[in-house]
Amino acid sequence: MNAGELALLALIIPAVGAGLVGLLRAQPNLREAASLVTGGVLLGVVMRIHRAVAAGEIPRLVLAEPLPGIPLELEVEPLGMIFALVAGSLWIVTTLYAIGYMRGHHEKNQTRFYIFFALAISCTMGVAFAGNLFTLFVFYEALTLSTFPLVTHAGTDAAKRAGRVYLGILLSTSIAFQLFAIIWTYLLTGTIDFEMGGILEGRAGEGVVAVLLALYVFGIGKAAVMPFHRWLPAAMVAPTPVSALLHAVAVVKAGVFSILKITIYVFGIDFLTQLGASVWLMWVAAATIILASLVAFRKDNLKARLAYSTISQLSYVVLGAMLANTMGIIGGGMHIVMHAFGKITLFFCAGAIMVAAHKTEISDMRGLGRTMPVTCAAFFVGTLSIIGLPPAGGTWSKWFLGLGALDAGQVGLVAVLMVSSLLSIGYLMIVPVRAFFSPASNPHGHGHANGGIHEAPLPSLIAIVITSLCCLALFVYPDPFFQLISMVAGP
């Protein structure tokens, strides 16, 4: 089986997993085992593809040709490989976490949950391996639709409203802006393929390129660039594993990944730098970074605060893409990885606190470090990575983004990065600090504040430890990802 067929297999495996979960709905233990096994097999397949890609191969596979000259095509290039590796490795960890969480939280309709979860991963793999703009759009929309039942899982009025915002923003931006941009690109160039160095050079004037770029950046609503960010906080009504994997990793990263990919393969970074069409969008991203951080300060609900932190961090990647130089692309690509591991850890912790201590508001979490030391320590590690401090992986992406900003001659953006790091110390670091150093806020209330340790269910705890260790490991050993991103970022 060649690597192109393996890429197709990576799409099929989660879908088969979803089928298995449906069949085994009567036996929860077997059902969860099926989820885990599927996750393991998927990771194995993704690793195999990685071996081929790292060796310089670019596997391709045409699935169908819906319109003449517009095939549904898979193509694994290094950037997509990074995304697939992140999503594939975190899926299995999240499944482990979800088993503890969903049972500990007594959620209903767990079978439906696991089915759509697996389908969402299948779509994510499709986004990662999309071989042209059309294929990317297909899986992008499929990802929106397959995550809708997860967002509205609770079935309450609040969930319904959130689902409306979620679908409304994501579908309408993608149809009105992104599809428009894709058809326009096709009309200008006669192709929708991704090509190194871009396809637009020499075929579109400066003004058209600027408009197209804006259509793509805002049309990819999953990147949550303001003002199209409202769907992400809304999606937080979903069960925590969904927030963790989909709304910190798969869905949002599908957005910034698409922007990065389109910047590199449709516009071409040299062409963009030459035109300067992306400068104002850099500042839109910078504004999103700062504004979302400021909003995060005002949120007392931990998941809401994390959501705004995500919005802020996503724009780092957008910023890296808009810088359109080697360091910026490396920084953006690395940040997809680093933020994924950091933020998923934080969401895992938030869910663990909700299940074990029944707390959702940050002001109630004083002194929690005594009852949930492992969780709070993991939260600390995740925070380090988000802020970008050693010894956590986030250091690298901030480093390269800063270099990229300097290369582009945008000193102001370096200042923005600094301020944002300071802000994230303020709104994130406060949580573990209070947990360890403040006295418990409500010793007589619900909980186990009397010295006893009460952590989340074991599968969830294992997942938390794994992802936080990964955050540390990525500081020491970011090489696999670094090599991949270097392949596309140019000299």
Partner: protein
């Protein structure tokens, strides 16, 4: 045998109509109708495959050669329309079996199938014929039988709606016959091909202009072009479920075909779009139709009526494609004829299943049905996604060509509007989907079970077609492309 396919296409449904009325047993009468629709379907496939080989079929009916006799003339444009009509007929007739028994008084059922076959025959006849007066005759056959079919709806308001449609439809038909008469006076022929040859010499004549105006307005009434659409929402809402599905997918499409035929083949692009600059008139009407009717659809409580307004909006998309008068625009228009028939057919059939089990298609009646009728509701959702234009459904294919056509003309605000209005479809479809999956079931919905197979299979057949022609649109786009080039007068 295959030489006489054009005659079989029309004569078999016509004979079936007579037989349906003669037999007193309702199931036998359905059987005859089904046999008629199957024959018509295979005839249509046969004709299309011959046309795709590059042949233009000319058939002198009864052996009397044109221009004295009536000539049937089939190219890529009407072969596609024939396939749409006959294809929808063969899918909806099995659906009608149980659905009609539930919604109609038993004694009327043989009459129903008589009218049903007449309507099929009329619609096929309009599409196949190469004679202007014959178009009018078949138009009347299909319209009169359609009035009767709509009036058979179980709601008492069906009668008023049918009457209203009768008035409006007759005005349209008289306009058409006046237009044809004027053309005959000027040219002395009724054969479409002869008309096309003789008219260019008369392009300056005022009579020709008047004939053009009468034909345009008359046909626009028939195809429910905004603002001549007022008959449509009520007619679709109160007709029996099977009738709504059939008419929504075919009747307006055939009227659009007549419009295309007169604009492009008979009068010619040079006259319609260069001398009279028809595009300037059609474009705003289409845009207003798309925008206002999508908006109105959002506020409808009755889901059938919502889809009816959506149909008027979708006709706007088709006319928008026509107004570009370019290969891409016409490809988009003809593609959407086919694709819209598939999606609306599927959606109305899904509602027919709901009507069968719950007895109402108000949005409140659909609440919570997601668990009671999972297959029907999945079909509705899939059809809705196709209507929105989600990729890998037929709706996406239409939208792709339409936006491409607009951008080719440099009309990027129009392209943007097309995409923005499809987000309005998200709103009105998702309102229903939300009710289906999150609503609290009404007492009647509580006891509802999944629709019987004889209703589900036709519904899903159309859904599968929606997906199939969305994933592999090679066939439909090549037929539509060929049709567009034929209309614009190039080589097929």
């Amino acid at each position: 045998m295959s030489a006489h396919l054009p005659a079989i296409q029309i004569v078999v449904p016509l004979l079936a109509a007579a037989l349906c009325v003669l037999v007193p047993w309702k199931r036998v009468s359905w059987g005859i109708a089904f046999a008629g629709s199957v024959t018509a379907f295979f005839a249509a496939i046969g004709l299309l495959s011959r046309v795709l080989d590059g042949e233009e079929i000319r058939y002198a009916l009864g052996g009397w050669a044109a221009p004295w006799g009536i000539e049937y003339r089939i190219d890529a444009v009407n072969a596609l329309v024939l396939l749409i009509v006959a294809g929808i007929g063969v899918v909806v007739t099995p659906f009608a079996l149980k659905s009609v028994e539930r919604e109609l008084d038993g004694r009327r059922i043989p009459l129903f199938y008589g009218a049903w076959m007449l309507c099929l025959c009329g619609l096929l006849g309009i599409a196949i014929t190469g004679d202007a007066f014959n178009i009018f005759v078949f138009l009347e056959i299909s319209s009169l039988s359609a009035y009767a079919l709509i009036a058979m709806g179980s709601d008492r308001r069906a009668l008023v709606s049918a009457f209203r449609y009768l008035i409006m439809g007759s005005v349209g038909a008289s306009f058409i016959v006046i237009g044809i008469g004027l053309l005959y006076v000027e040219t002395g022929t009724l054969n479409l091909a002869d008309l096309a040859e003789r008219l260019p010499a008369l392009h300056g004549e005022r009579t020709v202009l008047v004939a053009f105006a009468f034909l345009t307005v008359g046909t626009s009434l028939k195809l429910a072009l905004f603002p001549l659409h007022l008959w449509l929402p009520n007619a679709y809402t109160f007709a029996p479920s099977a009738v709504t599905a059939f008419l929504a997918a075919t009747a307006t499409k055939v009227a659009v075909y007549v419009l295309l035929r007169f604009f492009f083949t008979v009068f010619g692009t040079a006259y319609s779009f260069e001398q009279l600059r028809l595009g300037v008139w059609l474009l705003p009407l289409a845009l207003v139709a798309i925008f206002t009717m999508s908006l109105v659809a959002i506020f409808q409580g009755n889901v059938k009526r919502m889809l009816a307004y959506s149909s008027v909006a979708q006709i706007g998309y088709i006319i928008l494609g026509v107004s570009f008068a370019s290969v891409t625009g016409l490809t988009a228009a003809t593609l959407h004829l086919f694709n819209h028939a598939l999606m609306k057919g599927a959606l109305f059939l899904a509602l027919g299943c709901v009507m069968y089990r719950v007895g109402s298609v108000h949005i409140d009646a659909l609440r919570g049905l997601g668990r009671r009728m999972p297959w029907t509701m999945a079909a509705f959702t899939a059809g809705g996604l196709s209507l929105i234009g989600v990729p890998l459904t037929v709706g996406f294919v239409s939208k792709w060509f339409l936006v491409l056509g607009a951008l080719e003309q440099g009309m990027w605000p129009v392209a943007a509007l097309v995409l923005v209005t499809s987000t309005m479809a998200v709103v009105y479809i998702w309102r229903v989907v939300e009710a289906i999956y999150f609503g609290e079931p009404s007492p009647r919905a509580e006891s509802a079970t999944e629709a019987p197979l004889s209703l589900l299979v036709p519904t899903w057949a159309l859904i599968v077609a929606n997906l199939y022609f969305g994933i592999d649109a090679t066939l439909t786009t090549s037929v539509a492309g060929q049709a567009a080039r034929t209309l614009l007068g190039g080589a097929p």
